[in-house]
């Protein structure tokens, strides 16, 4: 029966090619536009560290001056050097890391290569196991290296290739900012998206290429980048004890009980600091896991959301258009339907027949929509946004695109098909 309906649908669609093409194109454009923007949203709101995002927590304290205090206000999203180092020493979490984004001028030893800048991260040792950074050679440094401010570095594969033409570089030295660092590890291409652990540096479009122990970076005075907020005058905002926040602090706390205990610890710590006169405000701490933190920070750009709404609006207009055209088409065939009903076809089978026709438009429209979404994403990749290179169709979105097209055309077909099967055979069979 189904093949018979398919045959009928095909005949009907062929009979009025312009109308069929119009419906297919409308569905395809609507679906193509929606799926392009939805794919971008899907990529932008992806879990940057699947499997672990529930165990990693971002730490916030409020070390600011008494002036301008509003109870319950959001504390700064970075910590001071004093607090960062104190929390690291306390070591109350499974793992913890204090860090900042950095910049380093690399002075290559290779002839013909000019000095150049790269993005880096000055961080404590737990960074690598905590965020699951993949190594291709060597290993991360240890907490002991942190304490000794060892002159070591972990570099990215791309940098190793650029500087030495190979990734087999463990043990070699690297010259940066007038200092020598020994390379102890090379990591694979690694770019968590969004760049959740430090939203002050580019959220989507950044790859850090050199990692140096935080303690070492302070001894060598390696330049840093990102935001720095001081609430009082300071001759050196990066010094220990300076009234400035500029470091990110993350803790790994498996299980809710650990997280609650750590929150209590942060509260106690703040209270002690207040009693000691270092904190002017009552304890105000936040401990958010990766997902909560990303949701709170609203990392997905407004423009991407706005574009999605526009595309969905467009799809709705295309659907209304298709409903109208299908209705026109089905009612125009009243006499044919009347004959089929008179010959014994039930309302149900007419309904199914008409829906098959609508579904067919959806299948072709979906295929075309997929092509358009693919083209659309190609166009997005050439847009000037920092997330542009990430916009690619993955399997779930591919299936979703096709599903959306078929579902949309079936929904669009419901009303016309229902109206179509209401045709009373008697009236249609009388000569007009």
């Amino acid at each position: 029966m189904f093949t018979y309906y398919l045959d009928l649908a095909l005949r009907s669609l062929r009979r009025n090619r312009a109308l069929t093409a119009l419906m297919i194109v409308a569905i395809a454009f609507g679906v193509g536009a929606s799926m392009t923007t939805l794919t971008v949203l899907h990529v932008l709101s992806a879990d940057p560290i699947p499997g672990k995002s529930g165990d990693l927590y971002m730490v916030q304290l409020d070390p600011r001056q008494a002036r301008g205090f509003i109870p319950g206000e959001e504390p700064p999203d970075q910590v001071t050097r004093s607090d960062g180092e104190a929390l690291l020493r306390a070591g109350k979490a499974e793992r913890q890391v204090v860090m900042t984004s950095g910049e380093a001028a690399i002075e290559p030893a290779r002839a013909g290569l000019l000095p150049f800048f790269i993005e880096g991260r000055w961080t404590s040792a737990d960074f690598f196991p905590m965020f699951g950074v993949p190594f291709v050679a060597g290993a991360p440094w240890t907490r002991d290296d942190d304490d000794r401010a060892a002159r070591v570095a972990v570099i990215a594969r791309a940098l190793a290739d650029k500087l030495f033409g190979t990734t087999d570089v463990v043990g070699r030295t690297l010259r940066t900012e007038s200092s020598e660092l020994r390379i102890i590890g090379v990591i694979d291409t690694w770019r968590p998206t969004p760049h959740f652990y430090d939203l002050h540096s580019q959220v989507y479009g950044r790859e850090e290429q050199i990692f140096v122990p935080f303690s070492t970076s302070r001894e060598l005075k390696l330049p840093r980048s990102g935001s720095q907020d001081c609430w009082d005058e300071s001759p050196d905002p990066l010094a220990l004890g300076a009234p400035c926040v500029w470091l990110q602090f993350w803790a790994e706390l498996p299980g809710k009980a650990r997280a609650d205990a750590y929150r209590d610890f942060l509260f106690q710590y703040s209270l002690e600091q207040q009693r000691a006169g270092r904190f002017a405000r009552p304890p105000n701490v936040r401990l958010r896991d990766v997902r909560q933190w990303l949701a709170f920070s609203e990392v997905v750009p407004d423009d991407a959301r706005l574009q999605t709404w526009i595309a969905i609006g467009f799809l709705v207009v295309c659907l209304i258009n298709t409903v109208g055209l299908l209705l026109t088409k089905f009612l125009r065939r009243s006499s044919e339907i009347g004959v089929r009903r008179a010959l014994g076809a039930s309302k149900r089978s007419i309904f199914v027949q008409l829906l098959v026709e609508a579904g067919m438009i959806g299948v072709v429209g979906g295929a075309l929509g997929l092509l358009l979404a693919w083209l659309g994403l190609w166009a997005v990749r050439h847009q000037p946004a920092d997330y542009a290179p990430l916009a690619r169709l993955d399997l779930p979105m591919l299936v979703a695109t096709f599903g959306l097209a078929v579902a949309a055309s079936l929904i669009a077909g419901l009303l016309p098909a229902w109206r179509g099967c209401q045709v009373t055979p008697a009236i249609q069979l009388k000569s007009p």
């Binding site: 119009l22 000095p115 959301r305 706005l306 207009v317 209304i320 258009n321 009612l331 000037p384 946004a385």
Partner: protein, 405 residues
């Protein structure tokens, strides 16, 4: 004319009529908002910078490691840059308008005031005001003895003797006083005297309100090229290309052991800064056009169907004496009625969408003047779309009425 007959016909084709009205309404609402958003983006891209844009060439570089000779090298750089033919002024500054990276500080009338205003903090070497072409509207530019070294100020070894305020900031701080000669607190606990007010200098990054975007100050503090590292050259526009070609070589001759990040004309940087807005505006134009085309095709499809369905009825009317013009106008009026209902609903919807966007995305209120634009557009579109089917209807011969089927 045919108003009531049309209404009763439409009532009998209720579903199709409702669909087309809904389509027109939705299109009208989306297009109204899209046109408004496009205008918003264009206005953003058109923001004044306050500098002489076509005369500016910028170069950015960075040092390697801590350099003790940074101030001396900077002075040599500036001297060498001034020697390039076509360069009128050269200065070093911590930041540039639309440059992205920004320096900000709070400024108020008392030290540590709670209601001090976070403003853009520009500082640079002696010729900065002249090099940028910032227009002084009250008071004077800095004198050469007012400039201090950045490192000295940072280490609080010296005090900043003077400050220039933007007009926007001066009016906010001193609503009913002449700001020139007044004291403000900007960099620390010591008062700084306002020596002049300049018209405008755009901030390097986006601000949440138009008013905030106008708050900036200039301080007579000379940074080394390692602080921000922007050289600003004011050049003869006719020779800008030559200057651009010579900049890097000139700086390399002074000291090659640095990283030369980029050199560009101000216009390029501006274009770069607003790239996302341009892309969004193009996208909105594209979607609006696509929407209008889809809606027009929908109108054509429905009108064609109605013409076909009413062939006999039209024949009868023609046989009873209706002219071709009458038939043509019947379909045009029918479309006009449908479009009008759609437009009225569409405007209400446009307004609702705007309210929702205002809440979610900090978009300004849709001015009422945008509604007629959407209305006219859709009326025209409807009339153009219905013309073909209506003309076909008017060509139906009266003889059709006498034929069976």
């Amino acid at each position: 004319m045919h108003f009531f007959p049309i209404l009763s016909t439409l009532r009998r084709h209720r579903t199709a009529a409702i669909l087309i009205v809904a389509e027109i309404a939705l299109t009208c609402a989306i297009v109204c908002n899209a046109v408004f958003l496009i205008r918003d983006r264009l206005a953003r891209m058109d923001q004044p910078s306050g500098v002489v844009e076509d005369e500016l060439v910028l170069a950015r570089l960075a040092g390697i490691g801590a350099r003790a000779d940074r101030a001396a090298v900077t002075a040599q750089d500036l001297a060498a840059l001034r020697q390039i033919p076509g360069v009128k002024f050269a200065a070093v500054t911590n930041m540039v308008p639309f440059g992205g990276s920004s320096w900000n500080t709070s400024i108020g009338l008392v030290p540590d005031s709670v209601d001090s205003l976070s403003s853009g903090m520009y500082f640079g070497s002696a010729d900065l005001v002249e090099a940028l072409g910032v227009r002084i509207v009250a008071g004077r530019d800095f004198t050469s003895d007012e400039f201090r070294d950045f490192d000295d100020v940072q280490a609080t070894r010296t005090k900043v003797p003077a400050i220039l305020l933007s007009r926007g900031l001066a009016e906010r701080l001193f609503p009913d006083k002449n700001p020139v000669g007044q004291a403000v607190y900007a960099t620390g606990r010591d008062p700084v005297r306002v020596v002049g007010v300049y018209e405008h200098l755009a901030r390097p990054n986006d601000m949440s309100t138009k008013e905030r975007a106008r708050w900036s100050m200039i301080l007579p503090i000379t940074p080394a090229f390692t602080v921000g590292g922007n050289y600003v050259l004011r050049v003869d526009p006719a020779r800008a290309t030559e200057v651009l070609a010579a900049v890097t070589k000139t700086l390399e001759r002074v000291d090659p052991n640095r990283i030369f990040l980029d050199r560009q004309r101000f216009s390029e940087m501006r274009e770069n800064y607003f790239r996302k807005d341009r892309a969004m505006a193009y996208l909105l134009v594209g979607v609006s056009l696509a929407l209008l085309v889809v809606t027009a095709l929908g109108v054509v499809g429905l009108a064609s169907f109605w013409v076909q369905q009413r062939t006999r009825q039209i024949g009868v009317r023609r046989a009873l004496g209706a002219t071709r013009g009458d038939i043509l106008r019947y379909f045009q009026l029918e479309n006009f009625i449908l479009a009008t209902i759609g437009i009225v609903l569409g405007m209400a919807l446009a307004y609702a969408i705007n309210l929702w966007l205002m809440q979610k995305y900090q978009i300004p209120r849709l001015p009422a003047s945008f509604l007629p634009i959407g209305a006219t557009l859709l009326w025209l579109l409807g009339q153009i779309a219905v013309l073909g089917p209506a003309l076909r209807a008017s060509l139906i011969p009266p003889a059709i009425a006498t034929r069976s089927v």
